[in-house]
Amino acid sequence: MLRDITIGRYVPGNSALHRLDPRTKLLGALVYSAAVLSCSSFISMSAAGAAAAAAALISKIPVSYIIKGLKPLRWFILFTVIINLFCIDGKILWHLGAVHITYEGVSAAALLALRFIFFVLGTSLLTLTTPPIALTDGLARLLRPLKAVKLPADDIAMIISITLRFIPSFADEAERIMKAQKARGADFGSGSMISRVRSIMPVTIPLFISVFRRADELSLAMDARCYGKGVRNPRKKFFFGRTDAYFSLIMIIFCGFLAIIEFFN
């Protein structure tokens, strides 16, 4: 199941989305996320959903694969939906004794669920269509102005892209460790909250150690290839081309559209 995580994975391709300048995509994903996390009407959300669907189709990545990336989140989404359904007061739709579901609760729950889903979709599409090195370099270029205030922009960009790239790898490792501990009789699914938290330790501790070990190994390998000598000269230059201009225009119109809808709500 953890194998299904798509955030961080890159699927090579040649779609219009793949060919966009990484900076365009980074800013696009940022703007999209901000929009999705701040809009509160269902019309806006539908528009956001349509936009995500359009982007997914353009990327030519199998839709089933993209959707699979949501699977690991289903319990989290379910959890927040339930909290919202039962804990928000307002116009009561249904009740059983002290437990009640309100109209506002349903609204909030649905909104929250959609927010998570679209946020994950947007970020996934970013990483699915952009090779990590391009992400790093794109991010580094965007952050470059901050170097004036002594921010190590290049290193930060490298850190972020390495983290993203390793998410699937550690998901695989976690699954391996879980399998091994399950074979020793570990049970992760049942019992009280406290015992369930404790039962995760046989997975989290080895995983943490593995993370540190890999970080050590990777940093040695990067040192061995002279990382840190000076300013990196990325091989692949990217250009802000026509497709990027169209994409940015579409994003601006999209935001304007959402702003109008929100204003009238």
Partner: protein, 274 residues
């Protein structure tokens, strides 16, 4: 015995559906050490997962004495590759105790089990109270194995148990396996290996997997005799057999020796009889 009956298993990856095992028929018998060999990607890990009951076949069945292995997990101990990467507890003793405790063993029986598994894996008493992370690589491997042996499993499955170990520890791991079988002839022991020498020297029976299917099954002598098959499966033959083949091509036929001892005796006999 563990019986694979027309077992199939597949999984999805970004490259599409991968058929890991297709209609496998095989047996892991009691009182025997079986080695599972095959090229990378031949399905060895999936085979072990199914045998251990950690996965269920999509078609066909994998049973232990008639019951699905998935329901018999309590009786099956699995030592995965590089098991030292699963150590997590504060002390070696606590880590070894994890398995048995999950199955309800406690008190004096638990202490017995810890003592037994520490002894059989050669872990000194003084190491038991140390943190597992303070141990050397070889000791960590033994501690992880002890954690599985403390569950006193009827069935023991190991994935590349000797990977990365020094020669002396490698011998120790395999002699532990033989020791277990000697003291409990009812056990089923199976290991996956890439080393043809280990398969030749330590296994009673071999299963050769190729692209998810069983390509050969029999004693090491029987399987290694099928040289063309092994080469076509991307595998090599044990060194003693290569020496025997070399001698045969030079005109001295000493038969098909596959273990170190066999080739030594065969050559000695040939030279002494001159």
């Amino acid at each position: 015995m563990i019986e694979f009956s027309n077992a199939s298993y597949s999984y999805t990856s970004p490259l599409g559906t991968v058929q890991a095992l297709c209609g496998v028929n095989a047996r892991l018998r009691r009182g025997e050490i079986t080695a599972v060999i095959g090229h990378t990607g031949s399905g060895k890990s999936t085979f072990m997962d199914l045998a251990a009951g950690l996965a269920e076949p999509e078609r066909g069945s994998v049973t232990l004495d008639g019951f699905d292995t998935a329901s018999q997990r309590k009786k099956i101990g699995v030592v995965f590759q590089y098991p030292e990467y699963q150590l997590f507890a504060d002390t070696v003793r606590d880590d070894i105790a994890f398995g048995p405790m999950n199955f309800g063993i406690k008190g004096s029986e638990l202490n017995e089990r810890i003592k037994y598994s520490a002894e059989i894996t050669g872990l000194d008493d003084s190491l038991l109270s140390r943190s597992p992370f303070e141990l050397s690589g070889g000791q960590k491997r033994m501690a992880a194995a002890a954690g599985v042996l403390a569950m006193k499993p009827e069935i023991l499955l190991l994935d590349e148990p000797a990977a990365g170990l020094d020669p002396s520890l490698r011998e120790q791991i395999f002699s532990i396996m033989r020791q277990l079988l000697d003291s409990n002839g009812n056990m089923i022991i199976a290991f996956v290996t890439h080393s043809m020498e280990d398969a030749a020297n330590y296994a009673d029976r071999l299963i050769l997997l190729d692209h998810g299917c069983v390509a050969a099954y029999g004693t090491p002598g029987e399987v290694f005799a099928k040289r063309e098959l092994l080469y076509s499966c991307g595998l090599d033959i044990p060194a003693p057999l290569k020496i025997a083949d070399g001698l045969r091509s030079l005109g001295d036929d000493i038969g098909g020796a596959i273990t170190d001892d066999e080739i030594f005796l065969s050559v000695k006999n040939m030279l002494s009889s001159i």
